[in-house]
Amino acid sequence: MLALQLLVNGLVTGSALGLVAISFSLIYSTTKIFHVAHAGVYTMAGYVAWSLASRGMPDVVTLVVTVAACMAMGALIQHQLYARLERRRATPLVVLIASLGALAVMQNVIAAIYSPNILQFPVPWGSQMVVLGGVRLTWTQILTVLASLAAYGATVWFFHRTILGKQIRAVASNPFLAEITRLHPQRVYIIVVGIGSAIVALPGILVPLDLGLQPYSGITPLLTATIAMIAGGIGSITGSFVIAVGIAVLQNLSLLVIPGEWSIGITFFIFVIFMLFRPTGLFAAAR
């Protein structure tokens, strides 16, 4: 019974993690930037939502404003930081250091404003329990799974069925050719980072709704998500999502034998195995 509960918990955290992985994968496979500051956008989402919710905003308004704020922040980072560095022909190392700087700035601005302590969402329905076939779930957890699956489906649809999605994939596969066909890679990059940041706002709100907010908690999910992206095959949306769910399930099931504080070890172990035996990932062919 405990195993079943852990399995379900894994599916819940996994679906949220899957969205982080998708959003990072989109940004990384298109801009080729290892966008560490994404963890900052993820953290920011929770705090923006918390501020609005604790001022009595309706939930829908909170959601829309938070997603918009994250989108704007992502676009700002791309436009003001990465694009500037690109114009100066900065090496990937320089871009990465700047991104880490942006992450440090965001995390610590949040910590200075809201204090580094855990904050709980003032949402009463979020922690109400439902028992489904012997498994206890909160409404937040059910919402997390539904919203994540919907967002996953929407992302896949967007990138394969819409013009803009196809343009983004064109730029991702060959920026030079895309520029010749007047696609303006730099503009597409801003759009992609914006979309990625909007997607990451969802897990950014839903996970703290369940577990509470902390300013420095973005790095671990981002790291797990990047591992899922690599193991799933860079550029494959489905691959990242599936592997993210798999990692979260494994992490949760491992709680049966290993205490929770070592779960980062499990994640990392999975990464090392992939790196040694299948560095291109499971779903790599689909590009």
Binding site: L85, I97, A104, G265, P279
Partner: protein
Amino acid sequence: MDFLFSYIALAEVYVLLGLSTNLLVGIAGIFSVSQAAVFGVGAYIVAQLLMTETMGFVPAMLVASLVCIALNVLVTLPSLRVSGDYFVVTSFGIQLLATAVFINWTQGTGGANGLPGIPPPDLFGVMLETNAQLVMLTTVSVGLGCLAFWLIMRAPFGRLLRAIREDELAVAAVGKGVLQAKVSAAALAGAFAGSAGGLYATFLSFIDPVSFDLDASILLLTMVVVGGARTLAGSIIGPFLLLALPQVLTFIDIPTTIAASARQLIYGVLLIVFMLFRPQGLAGEKL
């Protein structure tokens, strides 16, 4: 006077760490946020060996350096074989894993409370107890470190590393072992960081996980970025400047609750500003 001594000694420990980070990030061009983890491993090993009276200070330092070399080789070999971005993930992973070990492995590391009462270092039977003696020790060690760094940079090996940073493909084309050179650079960086850890532990006689977390790694990166990459002067200027920063901050009236975040915030801003406007730092070469 004691205050000045401890500032100098600590800054010198960080100069050793700066040299280590500079070798890895500046010269070999490998982005790493796990430098503080390696530093911590060195510190805990020397602390344990001295506290259990297994051996004297000099052999303990040797053991710590060897372990840190082995650790860095083990960490870099599988990931650099694939690509630089895989090492970014690896270094984040190692840093988070190391912090988990430092905090949770209570028997070996004292957990979050740290290890108090580390005995002072001894050199060939002489106990170094006063601050003046300890400063002499760190100064001599840093002198040796700087000499080694300077010699390495002049040696063919140093030129090989510079060449790799400029154009990896060209270096591989003339038949030099790129992976081997990078892993050797990482090994050297490990030796520097490990011995810095030993000096740090014996100088403070107390260590805890906070000194070796991700924030500490970011601080190390900031030191190299501000001081300047790839030069001896840069690795010396950075630590001395940035360690003075907390003292300067005490003059400005910042509430103590946000002092830590404010400090990290400044590091983040420095990273961004230097990457945008002066990637070579104060006294370095182009990063």
